[in-house]
C-alpha cells in the first residue's frame, strides 16, 4: 500500500484500535490525541500487534526503538510517524 492521505490513515488506525483493543467503544471517544500507551489502552503485547499491523498495512519497517511512546502514543503521532517513513528519503 502506498501513500494515502492523513485522514484516511487516522480512520484506519482508529478502526483497527477500536475493533482489536476497545470493542464496543464509540469511535468518537477515541480521539486523535487520546493517549494509548500511558492510558493502558495499549499494553506491550497490544503495541506489538499494532506495530505489526502498521508495518503490513502501510508497507514500512518499524525499528524496535521507534515503537516507543514518542511515535506510538496517539493516533495523531502514529499517523505522522507513518507518513514520515513513507516519504522517499
Amino acid at each position: 500500500m502506498g501513500n494515502c492521505d492523513m485522514d484516511t490513515m487516522k480512520e484506519e488506525l482508529r478502526q483497527y484500535i477500536l475493533s482489536e483493543f476497545l470493542p464496543g467503544e464509540k469511535p468518537s471517544n477515541l480521539r486523535d490525541d487520546t493517549p494509548l500507551r500511558t492510558s493502558g489502552i495499549l499494553d506491550s503485547v497490544a503495541t506489538l500487534r499494532l506495530v505489526t499491523f502498521v508495518e503490513e498495512h502501510y508497507g514500512i519497517e518499524v525499528e524496535a526503538h521507534e515503537a516507543g511512546v514518542e511515535n506510538f502514543d496517539t493516533i495523531e503521532s502514529i499517523s505522522s510517524f507513518i507518513q514520515s517513513k513513507q516519504k522517499p528519503a
Partner: protein, 532 residues
Amino acid sequence: MSLADLEGPLSALHLSHYLEASALRCPERVAAVDSDGTSLTYRELNDRASRVAGFLASQGIRRGDRVGLLLPKDTAALTALFGTLKAGAAYVPVDWTGPAERVRSILADCDVRALFADGRRADLAADIETVILLGEDKGDGPRGSVSGRFSWDKALEHEPLPADPAARRPDDLAYILYTSGSTGIPKGVTLTHQNATSFVDWCSSVFTPSEDDLFSSHAPFHFDLSILDIYVPLKHGASVHLVPDELGKNPKDLARFIASRQLSVWYSTPAILGLLAEFGDLDRLDCSHLRLVLFAGEVFPVKQLRRLVSHWPWPAYYNLYGPTETNVCTYARIPTPIPEGRSEPYPIGWPCSHCAALVIDAEGRRVEGGDEGLLYISGPSVFIGYWNRLQETAAAFLDRDGARWYNTGDVVKQQGDEGLLYLGRRDRMVKRRGYRIELGEVESCLYRHPAVSGAAAVPVQSAEAGVRIVAYLVAPAASRPSIVEMKTFCNQHLPSYMNPDVFVFVDALPRTSTNKVDYQDLIRRFEPDRKA
C-alpha cells in the same frame, strides 16, 4: 571447614552463602551483567553487598526487618537485594512501574523499615524511615543531609558488615512476594531461606549448571521465577544476564539479546516465549548456545510451543509448575520435537524430589486412577504463611498424615505415565502472562469508579488469545463512562496485566437463586466471536 575450603557449590543454609561461597571460589568470574554490558564480578558484587549490609545495619536494620526494593532490574538492584540478605533482613521487591496506591499499600502492609527506590518514584517513600535513592537522581536529589534520605553512593561507601553466622538462620524470613488478593489488597507470601534453598538445590540436581552457563533473568524480582534466575547461577559461579522491564517485553530486541549474549539457560513464562517465536525473527539469529529452556506460570499453548521448538530444536525443554507459595513443586521434561498431531496441553508432570503431592476430592479422599482432584503440596519449599493474615494462612493448609499440605487450588488428574495434568481452578483466580489475578481485586478497582454501581469480572478463554478478562459494569446512562475512561481508570489503579480486555455495560448483573452474581451466565453471555 571454612567456606574457602569448598571445592564446588554445596547446599547452603542461607541465600547469602551462595554468593559468599562463589566469591571465595571464583572471585574474578563475572556474576551479573546489565543490559548495557556493565558487569560485576563475584568479588565486586559480594563486596558491595557487604557494604550495603553495613549501611543498613548502621541505620538500625536488624534480623527479620523488611526492606523494600522499588527499582528497575539491574546490578545495583541485585546488590541491594544481597545487601538486605546479608544484613539478616528480608527483601520485598515491588514493581517500580506499578500504580502508586498499590505500591504504597504493599510497603505499608509489611511495614518496611528501609526502601531502595528509583529516584523517579521517590514520592512513594514519604512515610519510610530510611530511603536510599538510586538512578536518575544524581544531580540535586536528597543527600545524607536530609534526615533518613541517602544516596546509593553513601551506602556503597560504608564499611562492610562482618558476616555473623549466628545472625543467619535457615528459618529466617528471606523475602516476601506480593500476589493478587481477592479482597482488592495484595497479599504477601512470606518465604524463608530454607524455602528457597531447598528449591535451588533441587535445580542443581536436575539442571546440573556449571560455571560456564550464562543464565537469563527475564522475570522481575517481584515474580517468583526470579528465585531460580538469581540464586542458581550465583550458587554455581555462573553468570546471570539481567533483562530490564522494557527489553523484556520486546521480543525482537530480546531475541537479539539471547543471541548476542550467547545465553545457555532461559527461564520465563510461556507468554514471552510465544512472542519470541512469533515476532523474534529467530531463524535469522544464532541462539545455538541455549541448552535449557524452562517455562512456568501458565499453560503453554501447544501450537506456540511447537513453533518455538521448530525454531530452536536443540535445547532441552522443561515445564515447571508451582504457585508462589511452594515455588516449583512439579516438573516435566517435554519430549521434542512436538508431534504435528498433538493439540492437548503438556502435563505439569511429577513432584520434585523435595516435594510431595497429594490429590484429594471434595470429601477429602485421596483420588484413585485418573480422577480429578485438588492438588496439595508439602515439603521444605512450602511457604510459612501470608504476611499478617492468620485466617487466610490457616485456610490454605491441611494437616494430614503428620505433614502440612498447602492447597494449591489447582484441579489436576493423573494422566497415565505423563504425570499430573493441570485442568483448571474452582475459585476466581486466573492466570495471565504467568501472573495470578484474583478477579475480586479487579472488581474492587471497578467499584471505586464513582459512576459504577455494579461490577463483575469474568475470564473468557480463547484458543488464540488465551485468557481475556471481561468486565461487566452497571452505571446510570447519564453518567456512563466511556470505555477509554474505564481503561485509563483501571490503568491508574491496577498493574497492566490486570486491566480488563473488554468492558460491557449492562442494566443489571444477573443473580443466582441465592442472590449471588451469576458468573457462569456472564461467561456464557460473552459472544465468542467478539474481537478484543
